[in-house]
């Protein structure tokens, strides 16, 4: 990785990249809200550059991280940083409010928990727990009977074993978010099939992270 801090630099890059993946691509505008130690010491640690680098899709070992703010400007990504108290969360927590300039908007909150490891805590209004240590499948769907069974049977048919799974919903019958961490990678063909399930609004896959 590129220094100076694994939690404030490498972890921050990974958080930015994860938020970008959850949005589904390059954001056009990003509001980035830093909490706790991120807010207090982020400037000295290169956290701003690191978060922007992640939003641009760079990896933690990319030696262009120090120039990420000018890279963002050159690639048409507008990033605004501010600090706020996000409540009872890990000291290194950041909230991204992203839009791709077309139809997609997402709010992602995540923490950098040490040594470059991260945990996504919230996607929009849904509490989640995504570490990126495993392949993960995220499915936004209508809260209707049988949707979870349909998605998991597609995984079973694709020979994918579920390591952990969590479903959260806004309220009964409204939208729900399913996060499935798996032992095997979920093939694009399986994600295509999930999109054919009428109650599924969106499905996306997060590749596991491994330092190279």
């Amino acid at each position: 990785m590129v220094g100076p801090s694994s939690s404030h630099t490498a972890g921050a890059v990974r958080l930015g990249k994860m938020a970008r993946t959850i949005l589904g691509g390059m954001p056009e505008r990003a509001q980035v809200i830093l909490h706790g130690s991120f807010a207090q010491t982020g400037k000295g640690h290169g956290t701003y550059e690191a978060l922007a680098a992640g939003l641009l899709g760079l990896n933690p070992d990319n030696e262009r991280i120090p120039e990420a703010l000018s890279l963002a400007a050159a690639q048409g990504l507008k990033v605004e940083f501010r600090t706020a108290d996000l409540g009872d969360v890990h000291p290194n927590t950041v909230k991204f409010i992203l839009t791709d300039g077309q139809e997609r908007n997402v709010e992602v909150t995540g923490s950098s928990i040490g040594g470059g490891r991260i945990r996504i805590e919230r996607v929009n209004e849904f509490p989640v727990e995504i570490t990126g240590d495993y392949p993960a499948l995220i499915v936004l769907h209508q809260d209707l009977p049988g949707v979870v069974a349909q998605v998991t049977s597609l995984l079973a048919a694709a020979q994918v074993n579920i390591a952990q799974m969590r479903v959260a919903r806004e309220k009964k019958g409204a939208q729900a978010l399913m996060v499935v961490e798996t032992d095997q990678r979920v093939a694009p063909a399986a994600v295509e099939l999930m999109h054919k399930v009428p109650a599924v609004l969106r499905a996306l896959v997060i590749e596991p992270w491994q330092e190279r």
Partner: protein, 287 residues
């Protein structure tokens, strides 16, 4: 929860080094072959070597200009004078400063376990390599031993300065490096545990108080002092000295102390050296 004591037992039962036990554990966890894992670890070792070389050249300053060039100063004394601590400790100090200075300059390093504490493990490994003429593959195995200690600490406590203070970062780095050094020195699995426990005990309670929130003061020099501490712990373990408190318990205590630490002393730059008069002046100048 995983325990280092279980790995020591597995190593004893199967006649393996801790590093080999960790490799087997990772092969199952990541579904990768031993060759794939070793290949990646060799790449980490190569980055460590490059960061030592880059730092010893002494031509890299941090963005603030607060740090850089100190590794070269220590290294230069090796050839010129009869040093106080001898070539082994002098080399260890210089290498630790070198990597920590590269890190402060946003250069490429291996987090071990974190970037702020990245100097300790490469400094210990390369110093032991020079002193005991260690083969490359044994260094790679020792890296897995160090990684194993780090994994247990991350599981049972934390390696985050924001969560556990500096003891979680530099203390963990020293424990990892001490275990690796004990293994390379011909120590048993139990002696790697003793080395790690002695090192971590010596750094319990250390707070994370970076001046201006930068990973420079006091972090860079703590990498050097923790490196010599790791070697001291390994030397004691190799002499057959045990740790009265076993490693897993020391790790749990480190985690508890971290929870008891006030927020101002956990990487917020709101206490400790960061709030000294000079620390505040530096902050006003650079942030």
């Amino acid at each position: 929860m995983r325990a280092y004591a279980d790995w020591v037992k597995a190593a004893q039962d199967c006649g393996l080094k801790i590093g080999q036990v960790v490799i087997h554990e990772q092969m199952a966890e990541l579904e990768q072959s031993e060759d794939e894992l070793r290949l990646r670890m060799r790449a980490h070792l190569e980055v460590m070597r490059q960061s030592v070389t880059a730092g010893l050249s002494g031509d890299r300053l941090s963005h603030t200009g607060l740090s850089g060039g100190d590794a070269a100063k220590v290294w230069a004394r090796r050839g010129q004078t009869l040093t106080l601590t001898g070539p082994v400790i002098n080399g260890a100090i210089a290498r630790a400063l070198a990597v920590a200075e590269v890190n402060a300059g946003m250069g490429k390093i291996v987090a071990a376990p974190t970037a702020g504490s990245c100097g300790v493990l490469p400094a210990v490994l390369l110093t032991v390599e020079e002193q005991l003429r260690i083969a490359e593959e044994d260094l790679v195995t020792a890296l897995f031993t160090a990684a194993g200690v780090g994994m247990i600490i991350a599981d049972r406590a934390s390696v985050s300065g924001a969560e556990g203070g500096c003891q979680a970062e530099i203390g963990s780095a020293a424990a990892m490096a001490a275990a690796a050094a004990a293994e390379l020195g011909g120590g048993s699995a139990a002696q790697t545990a003793a080395a790690a426990a002695i090192a971590l005990k010596s750094l319990l309670g250390l707070v994370c108080d970076p001046v201006a929130g930068l990973v420079e003061v006091p972090c860079i020099k703590r990498n050097a002092t923790a490196t010599t501490l790791a070697l001291t712990a390994a030397e004691m373990a190799l002499a057959g000295i045990a740790s009265a408190i076993p490693l897993d318990e020391v790790i749990d205590v480190m985690g508890e102390i971290g929870h008891q630490m006030p927020c101002a002393l956990r990487e917020t730059a709101q206490g400790g050296l960061a709030m000294s008069p000079t620390g505040q002046r530096i902050r006003a100048k650079f942030v």
